[in-house]
């Protein structure tokens, strides 16, 4: 299977470990991953505060670049915010076809055309549906049965479009995790918000939201995420959150492909666990 891969800004810098482990796991599963040439930022949740049209043109530019590439393939995204933004273009054009002309009028300045022929897919969707739990189980060299893992989906992978799972009670990641032999921790907060950008603009509010997420994961060995912003909010502020909530809430947080990489016994340099800000040591000790 072939994918036009859009890493996005975070996965090219602070979340490089997500990028590297994603490519390693997909490679192990036999996928062909080709990076979209000359991609630019999707606008995050920010472009629409400047201009609605710009919030569609920025992701449409990347999709147009993928349409221009050789061969067939889906547009693969690892970051949930990038995923929603790229899905948003097609959804809005469906609702109001006149937008297509406007988007293309803007893109003409870069000699690009967007038609909507490339399908946007999230990494989790690809793992669960293109490969599936059986193919994943077949690659497991080291069972994760010693671990209880809390699957954190976050918001934008299931909302607003919910293209690959239920928006209230998703289960695809649970199935992928179960394929590694891990026990799936019953995680009531799996689709509750981590606060997103509020961690920077309104820190107190975000600390409380993350506090709730970490409290509900107590008893699990680690939390698993599929978005760089969720990962950052869950792992980088655990000291602040613990003080704010008045209890110790430290817990390892891994990206899904990092955990799959442990199960596939991939080389450590392909998982880059040393970059995780909440120490993954307890997880590694349990697997030793």
């Amino acid at each position: 299977m072939r994918y036009f891969y859009y890493p996005g800004c975070s996965m090219s810098s602070s979340a490089l470990e997500y990028d590297v482990s994603t490519k390693a796991v997909l490679g192990e599963l036999g996928a062909e991953v080709v990076e979209v040439e000359d991609w630019t930022c999707c606008g995050a949740s920010t472009a629409e505060t400047v201009s609605f049209l710009l919030s569609l043109v920025l992701p449409a530019r990347n999709l147009a670049l993928a349409e221009r590439m050789d061969g067939d393939g889906d547009f693969l995204v690892g970051c949930s915010a990038c995923y929603t933004n790229h899905c948003k273009v097609g959804e809005h054009v469906k609702r109001d076809p006149r937008l297509l002309d406007k988007i293309n009028a803007a893109l003409s300045i870069e000699h690009l055309t967007y038609t909507g022929k490339v399908r946007v897919r999230h990494l989790l969707d690809v793992l669960a549906n293109d490969f599936g739990p059986e193919a994943i189980a077949a690659r497991v060299k080291r069972s994760l049965s010693a671990l209880s893992v809390a699957p954190y989906y976050g918001c934008q992978i299931v909302r607003p479009y919910g293209l690959c799972d239920d928006s209230e009670y998703p289960t695809t990641m649970d199935e992928v995790l179960a394929a590694t032999g891990a026990e799936v921790f019953p995680y009531a907060m799996k689709v509750k918000c981590c606060g997103g950008v509020l961690m920077t603009t309104k820190k107190d509010v975000a600390l409380r939201l993350v506090g709730g997420l970490l409290q509900a994961a107590k008893g699990a060995d680690c939390i698993v995420t599929v978005c760089p912003l969720c990962q950052m909010n869950l792992e980088a502020y655990q000291g602040d959150v613990s003080r704010y909530m008045g209890e110790d809430l430290h817990i390892p947080v891994l990206y899904l492909p990092q955990l799959l990489g442990l199960a596939f016994d991939l080389p450590r340099e392909k998982l880059k666990l040393e970059r995780n800000m909440a120490s993954p040591r307890p997880v590694l000790d349990k697997l030793a």
Binding site: C9, S10, S12, S13, S14, A15, L16, W39, T40, C41, G43, A44, S45, T46, A47, E48, T49, V50, S51, F52, L53, L54, S55, V57, L58, R61, K102, A105, A106, L107, S108, I109, E110, C155, Q156, R159, P160, G162, S167, K192, C193, G195, G196, V197, L198, T200, T201, K202, K203, D204, V205, A206, L209, A236, Y237, G239, E274, R275, N276, M277
Partner: protein
């Protein structure tokens, strides 16, 4: 909590507020059920809950809404939008509120406005976002002392290789403006032109 009394006979009511925000006028069909508020992760920190704010928009209380922090506390989790029994695109309307507040320079919540502005400046200039540069621009534009609270995080990120000293040095000349035309200038300008035509 004391209930604020809003004067619905005031001459400042702006009846065009709702249409300006939500041209499809679906917002008029809001039945005040409160599902949005019950679904909102940050409603507890708002002075008007989402349900109250939507009623205020219907009534034309533009000044009160734009000067509130309610919509700046939205973390774009989309829970209200997917659960609204009327199918009102609430989050898109929040986006329109943010655009209006920024365009009209209303609202005491400078940190949010500066955050969004710094982010889009970096996108326009480089096409991609260098998180270190963006955060530095943001802190410089807000309250330079607020950066102190993030120093431990910055050091931890440095330790884990998430930001680099080299990146910091590379960024310095750009912050003082020694760097050519922006990577996405032409595209941003074209979008501005197209929006002005409407």
């Amino acid at each position: 909590m004391t209930q604020e009394i809003l004067d619905l006979t005031a001459p400042t009511l702006d009846r065009s507020f709702l249409v300006a925000l939500a041209p499809d006028e679906k917002l008029r069909t809001c039945i005040q059920c409160g599902t949005c508020t019950a679904s909102c992760a940050s409603a507890y920190a708002m002075e008007y809950t989402p349900r109250q704010m939507w009623r205020m928009v219907q009534l034309g209380l533009k000044e009160e809404v734009l000067n509130s922090k309610t919509f700046w506390l939205c973390s774009t989790c989309y829970s209200c939008s997917v659960r609204c029994p009327r199918g009102i695109p609430l989050l898109e309307t929040i986006g329109a509120l943010k655009r209006m507040a920024i365009a009209e320079r209303i609202g005491p919540y400078k940190e949010s406005i500066n955050f969004y502005r710094a982010f889009m400046d970096v996108v326009r200039r480089y096409g991609r976002v260098d998180e270190l540069e963006f955060m530095t621009r943001y802190f410089l534009s807000t309250n330079i002392f607020s950066i102190i609270g993030y120093v431990p995080l910055g050091l931890a990120m440095l330790m884990h290789g998430k930001v680099t000293i080299k990146g910091g040095l590379r960024m310095a000349p750009r912050l003082v403006g020694i760097s050519g035309a922006g990577r996405l200038d032409a595209l941003f300008r074209k979008v501005e032109e197209l929006e002005a035509e409407q």
